[in-house]
């Protein structure tokens, strides 16, 4: 039986190809992302192993705050360097820094991306313990010299001798470029930009005079790394709060930290590749169902000559196994190309992630081929069982192609799933866990997919109505063809349905978030202009800039708002930092209790829901620890609603801190009597000196803040694009099989006078109706899902939901285009139907 299956599988090359296509697409994205992340990981492994090659020990503070994207350690006083150098066994040691610094290009625009790889400022040292190798020029010495990493120098077209403006914690300054360096042996680590100074300049400009982030130490070879670390630890006074790591430990830690950050990214990619594979499942299932129906006679003949049900079923499963194995292997190989494409794509949008060579882990091959094959075989189980149930007598009969599905049980199961899902959603609306929401959404999706065949016919007939009345008998046949096999229509449309539902739900979600952002900013920001940067938590506008703006004659007031990581109780959130002295009337919280005015450096404001969650009331006290390790009990002075962040503190709190505090926004009110344009001009001289930040009027600022959501949405769209391609391929395959199945019908139509262009039109409209069926159902499902998610995640209830009408229309037009595009090849095949052989196949 196995050999027979193999022979039968290979005999039908066209069918083999079509089925494998779905599997190839499904697995290639998974393989692409796997190879991509394996390659990134091994690239960074090699990079840090190389960079830290000469580092035997690493000394840094014991105080840290987990920012959610890795730990941030407190600065260390430079005096410790002498202690370290004095330890027996140490041959060299230097300070190390990775602070925020933005290199401003010759055009006045900052280099690097706001939300891309980090932009660092650091120490350039000639010590062998330093991480940088001078490529050209020399190391910077003194307060007006800088060195850049080679990639940044090239990107900014800087050569040694040029003036380079750099903006950092203490403001914006111009330096002379004296050298260009490589990080290890590459031009830039991970697309980050680096501005390097001598240690005193770096400390003073980037952080605080006398402080560095950590120390790099090289031993003289007399001690092992572990012994060296112990010796340094022993020499450092307890009060210094410093700890020593071995070279291997810091390499491992840095690598894993980068991997954590990249991990978010690769998890994200993997999630979408599984969505693509899931959608691929539908296509595979559909193809097997159709081919099983088309070979009903073949199966019946096998039964008639003595094959058991089991044998017929197994023969189809064997075919699935062969196709799955073959498709997955090809999918894996094409994933290699896809991974290259992926990194090219990310490079193009500014997310330069270094990938040297190509890392293909053996377990990745096994895993992907295994997943692909299992998925294929699972998708084939139902059609295979159905084949086994074909009565032997069917061999003598004409194949029944248009099956009327038994709907009773299907409707029951579908409704049960939807009801269960709806219960989950209702629970979520009433404040149940997010996981319940997820299960509810899943239940409703599954229910709709099960119910699909029950309503695909009436909906397709309805959607086809205009086609039938506009396109005459040809349109009428398209409509009937789209509705004649409700199961097939539902299955073909399922990938479109899922894709569109996801896109619509995300779009609705984004539209609502945008509205909320507008509301929040509109309510809190009362000024005329805003100077803002996109980076939150790492760098931003030096706080000194606010003071420069404030003193402009055209400006009456200005206030800065920033964000910084801190420990609050048992959490490490980004907290909002504002200046209570200047914020009144410019940046206003929607206070529930208490007031923002006169917030002292021993007080804190808490978001109302958070306060309830943490049992905080006005007057309670909460422990806050800053990045530099300084810790304080703060008294809750009030609660607020609708602002970025769950905690807000006064700027005063950071007066003596080495925590690098930047502003993310500076809100400005124009002086009464001053002209708006003149004020804008005056402010922009300050901000263009700075080189970073965007100066916008109130309305433009609110718009652009809301528009940031679009970037995220664009990424989601991009990732769902592959699902769209799989959906298109699904329609193409189904149409091809349908055209093949209706060969005689098409031959007859051609014989009685249907022109080739009418045949094309007939197939095209059938495709459009099928695709629109999926899209319309998907939009309904997506809007409902989006609505439930928005309402359940937001306490302002239904009003928070915004229906994205324009986007919905775009999606429907997109579905129309998908239908037209998918029909091109099948329609062409249909016109090639040989009339005589089609009729003669009676």
């Amino acid at each position: 039986m196995f050999r027979l299956s193999l022979k039968m599988t290979l005999a039908r090359k066209g069918r083999l190809l079509l089925t494998s296509l779905a599997i190839i697409l499904g697995t290639s994205f998974l393989s692409g992302t796997t190879i991509f992340s394996d390659t990134i990981n091994s690239t960074f492994d090699r990079l840090f192993t190389d960079v830290f090659r000469d580092i035997d020990a690493y000394v840094r503070s014991t105080d840290s705050v987990d920012t959610g994207f890795g730990e941030q350690w407190a600065p260390s006083p430079i005096e410790a360097l002498d202690t370290i150098l004095g330890v027996k066994g140490v041959s060299a040691a230097v300070g190390d820094m990775q602070s925020y610094a933005r290199v401003i290009g010759k055009d006045g625009e900052p280099l690097g991306e706001d939300q891309g790889p980090p932009t660092f400022g650091g120490i350039a040292s000639e010590s062998v313990a330093g991480l940088w190798n001078v490529d050209s020029g020399r190391l910077p010495v003194g307060s007006d010299e800088v060195m850049l990493d080679r990639a940044t120098a090239e990107a900014g077209e800087f050569v040694v001798g040029d003036k380079v403006r750099v903006t950092a914690l203490s403001g914006s300054r111009e330096f002379t470029l004296v050298g260009v360096a490589n990080y290890g042996d590459i031009s830039s680590p991970g697309g980050a930009t680096f501005a390097l100074f001598d240690q005193p300049t770096a400390s003073e400009f980037l952080l605080k005079p006398g402080f560095v982030d950590a120390f790099l130490v090289q031993g003289d070879g007399t001690l092992s790394d572990e012994e060296l670390a112990k010796a340094i630890d022993a020499a450092l006074p307890k009060s210094a709060k410093l700890e020593t790591l071995t070279g291997a430990e810091i390499t491992e830690e840095t690598t894993s930290q980068i991997k954590t950050v990249l991990g978010f990214f690769t998890t994200f990619l993997t999630a979408f590749s599984f969505i693509a594979l899931g959608i691929g499942c539908f296509v595979i299932y559909n193809v097997f169902s159709i081919t099983a129906a088309q070979r009903q006679r073949e199966s019946a003949l096998l039964r008639a000559i003595g094959a058991s049900r089991r044998q017929v079923t197994i023969s189809l499963l064997v075919e699935a196994l062969i196709v799955g194995l073959l498709g997955s292997i090809i999918g894996f190989v094409s994933g290699i190309g896809l991974s290259r494409l992926l990194s090219a794509l990310l490079n193009a949008v500014g997310l330069e992630i270094p990938t040297t060579g190509l890392t293909i882990a053996t377990n990745a091959i096994t895993r992907i081929v295994l997943i692909g094959t299992i998925v294929t075989v699972l998708s084939a189980i139902l059609p295979a069982l159905r084949s086994g149930r074909v009565p032997p007598l069917a061999a003598m009969r004409d194949t029944v192609l248009d099956t009327v599905p038994k709907l009773g049980r299907r409707i029951l199961v579908g409704l049960i799933l939807i009801v269960l899902g709806a219960i989950g959603l209702l629970a979520a609306l009433n404040g149940a866990r997010v996981a319940i929401l997820g299960l509810g959404v899943l239940g409703v999706f599954a229910g709709v997919l099960v119910l699909g065949p029950a309503f695909s016919k009436p909906v397709a007939m309805l959607l086809g109505k205009p086609v039938a009345s506009l396109r005459g008998v040809t349109g009428s046949m398209s409509r009937q063809n789209a509705a004649r096999n409700p199961k097939r229509t539902a299955r073909t449309a399922a990938p479109v349905l899922i894709g569109v539902a996801l896109v619509t739900a995300f779009t609705a979600l984004a539209a609502s978030v945008k509205n909320e952002i507008r509301g929040t900013i509109g309510a809190s920001f009362r000024g005329d202009f805003a100077l803002s940067v996109n980076s939150r938590g790492f760098g931003g506008i030096p706080t000194s800039v606010t003071d420069k703006i404030k003193v402009l004659p055209e400006v009456s007031r200005a206030t800065g708002v920033g964000f910084i990581a801190a420990k609050v109780g048992d959490e490490s959130p980004f907290i909002l930092v504002f200046d209570p002295k200047t914020a009144d009337g410019l940046y206003e919280f929607e206070m529930v209790e208490g007031a923002q005015t006169d917030l002292g450096d021993d007080e804190i404001l808490v978001e109302a829901d958070k306060a309830v969650e943490k049992n905080l009331v006005v007057g309670s006290s909460v422990q806050v620890t800053l990045i530099d390790g300084s810790s304080k009990q703060l008294k809750v002075a009030g609660t607020y609603k609708n602002a970025y962040g769950n905690y807000a503190v006064s700027r005063e709190l950071f007066a003596d801190s080495t925590s690098p505090l930047f502003d993310s926004f500076v809100y400005i009110r124009v002086a009464s009597g001053a002209d708006n344009d003149a004020a804008e001009k005056a402010i922009s001289t300050v901000s263009s000196d700075l080189g970073i930040g965007t100066l916008e009027s109130r309305d433009a600022y609110i718009d652009s803040q809301a528009a940031q959501v679009d970037q995220f949405l664009a990424l989601i769209y991009g990732l769902l694009f592959l699902s769209v391609i799989i959906a298109i391929v699904g329609i193409i395959i189904t149409l091809l099989l349908s055209v093949f199945e209706r060969k005689r019908e098409i031959g007859l139509l051609r014989a009685v006078g249907m022109t080739r262009s009418q045949v094309r039109m007939m197939v095209r409209w059938e495709s459009v109706i099928t695709s629109l069926f999926g899209a319309v159902t998907g939009v309904v499902l997506g809007v409902l899902t989006g609505m439930v998610i928005v309402i359940s995640l937001n306490d302002s209830g239904f009003s928070a939901f915004t229906l994205p009408i324009a986007n919905t229309i775009t999606i429907l037009i997109g579905a129309f285009i998908i239908g037209v595009v998918a029909a091109v090849f099948p329609a062409w095949r249909a016109t090639r139907t040989e009339i005589i052989s089609a009729i003669a196949s009676a």
């Binding site: 005459g472 008998v473 009937q480 007859l748 009685v752 009418q758």
Partner: protein, 248 residues
């Protein structure tokens, strides 16, 4: 022999028509230099054993297939001068078809199937004529039924009605009774005979059954791709007698 009928009187004719499939050793001469005419307003039958080329001849005459050499005319139109679009239009307007089976589009009802060639050409057709045709096949009460709801005989009657609906130059019927019981077969043949006698249509039918062939005014016999002979006003006995000696 009636092969040199006045061209003006021919609804369809072939001149030195040859159709060769394959090449070299696999070459098959399905039609070998056939010249034949089918008279307007007559019921003609093409007979011959399997492989004699009778279906090929019909396909060629109907514009469903192209010749290797020679010429084919529908009325006075030389089919070799037409492109695919023009031939399709010609089939739609000037030719009617009845096949052995699978004659109807399953998604269209009986009436839509009958008027299909007209709808495809976006024409309304002659309503009185169509009603007359529908009356003749006595299926007026089943017009809204899908093919799957009709018996085999009823399906073939709808097919004949469709062939007649455009009032074509000529109707080709390929074993129209092949899948029917003798009662339904007789119905169809009677109806086709009626269409020629009463409605003045032209029908060419391919068959291998002497009884059905005897409904025709004239039979053309094919053998090995050649016209082997013909017979006017046939009876089943005469046809069977003729066929016995065809190989001689």
């Amino acid at each position: 022999m009636n092969q040199n009928l006045d061209p003006k009187n021919a609804a369809a004719r072939a001149e030195s028509a040859s159709k060769i499939y394959g090449s070299g050793e696999n070459e098959v001469r399905a039609l070998d230099n056939v010249t034949v005419s089918f008279e307007r307003g007559k019921f003609s039958a093409i007979m011959g054993p399997s492989g004699s080329g009778k279906s090929t001849l019909m396909h060629i005459l109907a514009g469903l297939d192209a010749l290797t050499s020679g010429k084919v005319f529908i009325g006075d139109v030389d089919l070799s001068t037409l492109n695919d679009k023009e031939i399709t239009k010609l089939r739609r307007e000037k030719v009617g078809f009845v096949f052995q089976s699978f004659n109807l589009i399953p998604t269209l009802d009986a009436y839509e199937n009958i008027t299909l060639p007209l709808s495809l050409g976006k024409r309304d057709g002659d309503e009185t004529w169509i009603n007359q045709v529908i009356d003749t096949i006595s299926l007026a009460d089943r017009l809204e039924h899908r093919p799957s709801e009709l018996s085999g005989g009823q399906q073939q009657r709808v097919a004949v009605a469709r062939a007649l609906a455009t009032r074509p130059e000529i109707i080709f019927a390929d074993e129209p009774t092949g899948n029917l019981d003798s009662k339904s077969g007789t119905d169809i043949l009677t109806f086709m005979r009626l269409a020629v006698t009463e409605l003045g249509q032209t029908i060419v039918m391919v068959t291998h059954d002497a009884v059905w062939a005897s409904y025709a005014d004239r039979i053309v016999f094919l053998s090995d791709g050649h016209v082997a002979g013909e017979m006017s006003n046939p009876s089943p006995e005469k046809v069977l007698e003729y066929l016995k000696h065809l190989g001689d």
